[in-house]
C-alpha cells in the first residue's frame, strides 16, 4: 500500500493532515500442541485532521477511495468549525518546518505461506513437548504485523512509511506444590518473518535457556520487600527509560503538571545517565521503530532528554512546540487510520557506559539481579512501576536463588540519582507496545544499570 495522495492536494484548504493507512497482522498460536489460532486482520482507511480557528477536527473512513477522502476532509473541517464556533479560542498558527518528503522502501507482496508458518511453530512446540515433558503448560505464538502509512499535509509534507515486525512468543509453565510457575520470552522484532527466523532449530538454545531459568524460578523465593540495590539487565533498562522518564517528558503531560516541567535544565540523574528518544538511527544502527517523518509531517529529530544527568528537553508535536517556543520534534504518532496523532515516544534509550555486567554483579554484596520485565506504568509524579518476571538474589557478588514474580517501583528522578554503574553492553527491546489512549509500537533500549529501587515482596 503506497497510495499517491497528491491528486487531493487542492482539497487541503485549511491546515490539514491527510493520511492513508493499512495495518496488517497475522497471529498463529499453539497451546498444548493444538493449533488454537490461525487468523489475519487487515484494516485500512483514510483520515484527515484539520486545524481551524484554533480548534481541531478529525474524521476517518474505512477503505481508500476518493469518496472516503472527500468525506474525511469535509467531516473533519465541519468538526473543527463546530468546536471553534461553540467554544471560541485564539487561533494561533502552528509552526511550519521545512517541507519534508520521505519514502521507505515498499515491502515485498509475497508473505510467507501459511503452511510454512504453521509447520515452523509446530516444530518448536514438538521440541518443547519432547525435550521437556514435565512442562505443565506450553504455548507458541507468532504475531507478524505491518504498518503502512501515506501522508500528505497542507504544509507540503509527504511521506510513505512502512514498519514490519515479527514477534515469536514462547510460554512455559511448570507446577510447584500444585501451583503454576510461568516464564515467557519474546523473540524477533523489526523485520519480516523470513529475515528474523531462519529455522526452528536456531531458537532451540534459547528455549533451553528459558527452561533452565524456569526450573530455577520453580524453586524461587519471594523478594524481600523494600529499597534494594539492584542491577537491572539491559532488557529491563529500556522499560525504565520509557516508563520512568519518557512519559514524564511528553509535552502534553508536562502541560498537565508532570514533575519534569519544573526540572528542565536541572540535574535529575547521576552524571552517568544520558537518555535519548531516538527518531530512527542510534549507535550506528537503525532503531526498532524508525520514524523519519511523524504523522504531522515533521521530520523526526533525536531528542536528548537527559544529558549526563541534566534534564534537557521534552517530546513535542506542533502544538506543544508552539506553546514552549521550540521546534517540533517529530513525536506526533497515530496507530490506526482512525486514530489522531498524539505525542508518543519512538525509541527511548539510556546510553551505554563503560562497566562490564559480570563485574557489576561481582561488586554487589546484597541485592538483586533483575533480568526480565512484564508490564509497566508511569505517573506524572515520575513514580513508575513495572513487573519483574525473572530475577535472582545477589549475595557477596554471586547470583543466588531465583525470585518469584515481583514488581519494582520508585520515583524516577530519585532512582536515577542512585545509578552508580552503567554497562557497556546495550540491548534494544523491539517488541514493545505503549498504551496512551491508543497503542503504538515503541523501541526500548539500554545498558545494565546498578541503582536502588523499591522491590515488592513479602
Amino acid at each position: 500500500m503506497n497510495t499517491d495522495l497528491s491528486s487531493f492536494k487542492d482539497l487541503l484548504t485549511d491546515y490539514t493532515e491527510l493520511r492513508c493507512q493499512e495495518n496488517y497482522s497475522l497471529v498463529i498460536g499453539f497451546l498444548q500442541g493444538d493449533n488454537t489460532t490461525n487468523t489475519r486482520l487487515t484494516t485500512c482507511g483514510v483520515s484527515a485532521r484539520v486545524y481551524k480557528q484554533g480548534a481541531w477536527g478529525f474524521a476517518s473512513y474505512p477503505g481508500i477511495s476518493a469518496e472516503g477522502v472527500e468525506f474525511v476532509i469535509t467531516t473533519a473541517t465541519r468538526n473543527a468549525s463546530f468546536l471553534a464556533a461553540e467554544d471560541p479560542r485564539p487561533a494561533y498558527s502552528l509552526p511550519r518546518g521545512p517541507v519534508t518528503n520521505h519514502r521507505d522502501e515498499p515491502g515485498t507482496a509475497n508473505r510467507p505461506r501459511p503452511e510454512h508458518l504453521v509447520a515452523f511453530l509446530k516444530e518448536i512446540d514438538n521440541y518443547m513437548a519432547t525435550k521437556y515433558p514435565s512442562l505443565a503448560g506450553r504455548a507458541v505464538t507468532l504475531n507478524c504485523s505491518e504498518l503502512n502509512k501515506t501522508l500528505l499535509t497542507s504544509d507540503g509534507a509527504s511521506a510513505y512509511s512502512r514498519l514490519p515486525r515479527s514477534l515469536l512468543k514462547i510460554d512455559m509453565t511448570v507446577e510447584q506444590a500444585g501451583a503454576p510457575v510461568h516464564l515467557q520470552e519474546v523473540f524477533g522484532g523489526r523485520g519480516e518473518f523470513e529475515d528474523l527466523f531462519t529455522t526452528p532449530a536456531h531458537l532451540f538454545p534459547q528455549i533451553d535457556w528459558l527452561y533452565e531459568h524456569l526450573m530455577r524460578k520453580r524453586e524461587g523465593v519471594f523478594a524481600t520487600a523494600g529499597l534494594k540495590t539492584c542491577i537491572l539487565a539491559p532488557e529491563i533498562t529500556g522499560i525504565l527509560a520509557h516508563e520512568a522518564i519518557g512519559h514524564t517528558c511528553e509535552a502534553d503531560l508536562v502541560l498537565g503538571g508532570s514533575i519534569a516541567g519544573s526540572h528542565l535544565g536541572q540535574p535529575v540523574a547521576s552524571p552517568l545517565v544520558s537518555l535519548v528518544d531516538f527518531a530512527h538511527t542510534a549507535l550506528g544502527e537503525t532503531c526498532p521503530v524508525p520514524v523519519f517523518v511523524d504523522d504531522e509531517g515533521t521530520a523526526a529529530q533525536d531528542v536528548p532528554l537527559i544529558d549526563h544527568g541534566v534534564l534537557k528537553g521534552f517530546l513535542h508535536n506542533k502544538e506543544s512546540a508552539r506553546h514552549f517556543g521550540v521546534a517540533p520534534t517529530g513525536n506526533a504518532r497515530a496507530f490506526r487510520f482512525s486514530d489522531e496523532p498524539l505525542i508518543r515516544m519512538r525509541n527511548t534509550a539510556i546510553l551505554p557506559g563503560t562497566a562490564e555486567l559480570d563485574e557489576m554483579i561481582a561488586s554487589l554484596d546484597d541485592g538483586y539481579y533483575l533480568m526480565r520485565a512484564s508490564n509497566g506504568q508511569a505517573d506524572s509524579t515520575s513514580e513508575f512501576m513495572f513487573g519483574v518476571t525473572l530475577g535472582y538474589e545477589v549475595k557477596n557478588g554471586k547470583l543466588g536463588r531465583a525470585i518469584k514474580d515481583t514488581t519494582i517501583s520508585g520515583l524516577a528522578f530519585q532512582v536515577l540519582q542512585t545509578v552508580s554503574e552503567v554497562s557497556r553492553e546495550f540491548k534494544w527491546i523491539s517488541g514493545g507496545m505503549c498504551g496512551k489512549k491508543q497503542l503504538i509500537p515503541v523501541g526500548l533500549g539500554g545498558p545494565a544499570l546498578k541503582c536502588q529501587v523499591m522491590i515488592g515482596g513479602r
Binding site: 468538526n79 514533575i259 505517573d379
Partner: protein, 431 residues
C-alpha cells in the same frame, strides 16, 4: 448490497469455496467523540469503521480472517485467503461453531448522538470541576457516542442482529497546588443517554474529592501485613485478573488453573457473590451475543463464595469436556453487603484504602505486587492520610478468600456495578 445481504453472501461464498462450517460477522460502527486536553476542549472526532470476520472450518481445520472493506470485490480474495489459512492449520476436533438458535434482533440505546448536548455536558463538567475542585487539573477527557450494528450468521442457521448505541465518558486528572502535584487518577462510565450531568456518573465525585485531598501524601509506616479496602474502580481489575487465571480457556486447557477442581466448591469468601450480567438492567454497556455466536445470558460466577461456573468458550469447553460458559464474562455485578463503607473503615486497625493499583500482571498462582496509587493509610478505624511510594503484595486467590466485609454502597460504571470490599493479609511496604 445491504450489509446483511453481503454477510449472507459471504457465508454462501465460504460454503462454495469448500468450508464445511462457516461463520461471518459483519459490524459497522460510527463514533462521535469530543476530546478535552488540559482543561480545554481540543478536538471533535468522527470515525466510521467496519469489521468483517470470516471463519471457515474444513476437516477439523480452522482459518479466520478480518477485513474492514465491506464490498463484494474485497470479499473474493478474503474467502480465498481464509480457505488457505484453514488448509494450512493443524486439525483439532475441538474447533466448532455455535449450534442453531432462533434468529433474533437485539436493540439498545439511541441511534444518533446529540452533539449539542454532548458539548453542553462536557462544558458543564469542566466548569463544575473547576468550581468544586479548584485544585484539580483535567489532564484529558473523552466523551463519545458510539453506535454499531452487527450481523452474526453461521452455517448452522445462527442469525443475530445487534444494534447498540451508548455514550462513554473517561477522564484522567490530578491535583496541583504550587509545586505540589498528586498522582494522576482516571475513571469512566457508560450510559444510554445524557440525562444526568457527567459529574454524577460512576465514581467521579468520590475520586475527584480524593485527588483534592491527595496533595500532601506520605509513606505508609514501614512494612506490615494489614487490611486492604478495595475501591470499586480497583475491584474490576482484580476480578478480571482472578477469573482470567482461574476459570477462562487458557488455564483450564493447560490445567494450570487452581480452580480446575473447584466447580460447586468454595473458591472465595462466603461474603462474595459475583454475577456477570451483560443483560442486566443496570448495565448500559453489556452485550447480547457471545464471541462464538451464542445468545448471551446472565450467569452467577460465585455465589456466597461457591464457584458456580467456568467461563469457557465453545472451543475451551470442547477441549476440556467441561461446560461452556453462557456468556463471555465481564459486566460484573457484585452483591452489596450489610455494612456501610464508613463502618468498614471503622473496623480497620491497620491497612489501606486502595483506590488505584499500578502493578505487574498477576502470576498464574495469583501472586501480585504493585504500587498503591491514589490510596490512603487507614489506622484505628479512620483514614489517616494519603499515601505515596507504598507497595502492596499478596495473592489474589487468598485476597478473595479472606474478605471480611462488602459495602452496601455500590458504584454503577455502566459496564459493572461494584461495591468496596475489605480483605486482609496483604503486605504493605513503604520505601
Amino acid at each position: 448490497m445491504e450489509m446483511k445481504e453481503l454477510n449472507t453472501y459471504a457465508l454462501q461464498a465460504l460454503a462454495e469455496a469448500g468450508a464445511e462450517k462457516a461463520e461471518t460477522v459483519l459490524s459497522n460502527s460510527e463514533k462521535t467523540e469530543m476530546n478535552l486536553e488540559n482543561g480545554e476542549l481540543k478536538l471533535v472526532r468522527t470515525t466510521v469503521d467496519h469489521h468483517w470476520r470470516l471463519t471457515a472450518l474444513r476437516g477439523q481445520q480452522r482459518g479466520s480472517m478480518s477485513i474492514n472493506q465491506v464490498t463484494a470485490e474485497a470479499l473474493s480474495p478474503a474467502v480465498t485467503e481464509v480457505m488457505a489459512i484453514a488448509a494450512a492449520s493443524a486439525p483439532d476436533p475441538a474447533h466448532d461453531i455455535a449450534g442453531y438458535q432462533r434468529p433474533k434482533v437485539f436493540r439498545k440505546g439511541e441511534t444518533n448522538p446529540n452533539l449539542e448536548l454532548m458539548f453542553q455536558r462536557l462544558k458543564t463538567f469542566t466548569q463544575e470541576v473547576s468550581t468544586r475542585f479548584p485544585r484539580i487539573v483535567l489532564l484529558s477527557a473523552q466523551l463519545d457516542f458510539t453506535r454499531s450494528t452487527t450481523h452474526f450468521q453461521n452455517s448452522n442457521g445462527v442469525d443475530f442482529t445487534v444494534e447498540q448505541g451508548a455514550y462513554n465518558f473517561s477522564v484522567m486528572f490530578s491535583a496541583k497546588e504550587g509545586a505540589s502535584s498528586s498522582s494522576f487518577n482516571y475513571s469512566g462510565f457508560s450510559v444510554l443517554n445524557l440525562e444526568e450531568e457527567l459529574l454524577n456518573g460512576g465514581s467521579l465525585r468520590i475520586l475527584l474529592d480524593q485527588a483534592d485531598q491527595g496533595l500532601a501524601p506520605r509513606k505508609a509506616p514501614g512494612k506490615f501485613e494489614g487490611a486492604v479496602i478495595i475501591a470499586p474502580d480497583c475491584l474490576e481489575g482484580f476480578l478480571h485478573s482472578l477469573l482470567g487465571i482461574t476459570i477462562s480457556d487458557g488455564p483450564l486447557i493447560t490445567g494450570a488453573s487452581l480452580f480446575k477442581d473447584k466447580l460447586n466448591q468454595p473458591g472465595a469468601s462466603p461474603l462474595l457473590t459475583v454475577v456477570s450480567q451483560p443483560l442486566g438492567p443496570e448495565i448500559a454497556h453489556g452485550y447480547f451475543i457471545t464471541d462464538d455466536g451464542y445468545e448471551a445470558q446472565n450467569t452467577t460466577i460465585i455465589q456466597d463464595g461457591i464457584l458456580k461456573t467456568f467461563l469457557l468458550s465453545l472451543y475451551g469447553a470442547n477441549k476440556t469436556g467441561l461446560p461452556r460458559g453462557v456468556n463471555d464474562g465481564g459486566a460484573f455485578v457484585v452483591t452489596p453487603g450489610q455494612q456501610s463503607l464508613a463502618e468498614i473503615i471503622k473496623g480497620v486497625k491497620k491497612g489501606i484504602l486502595l483506590t488505584r493499583f499500578s502493578g505487574g500482571t498477576p502470576s498464574l498462582n495469583g501472586d501480585f505486587s504493585g504500587i498503591a496509587k491514589n490510596s490512603f493509610y487507614v489506622a484505628d478505624g479512620a483514614i489517616q492520610y494519603p499515601l505515596n511510594e507504598t507497595m502492596i503484595a499478596g495473592n489474589l486467590i487468598s485476597l478473595f478468600q479472606e474478605i471480611t466485609a462488602v459495602s452496601r454502597e455500590q458504584v454503577n460504571f455502566g459496564f459493572a456495578l461494584l461495591p468496596w470490599i475489605a480483605s486482609q493479609g496483604v503486605t504493605i511496604a513503604a520505601q
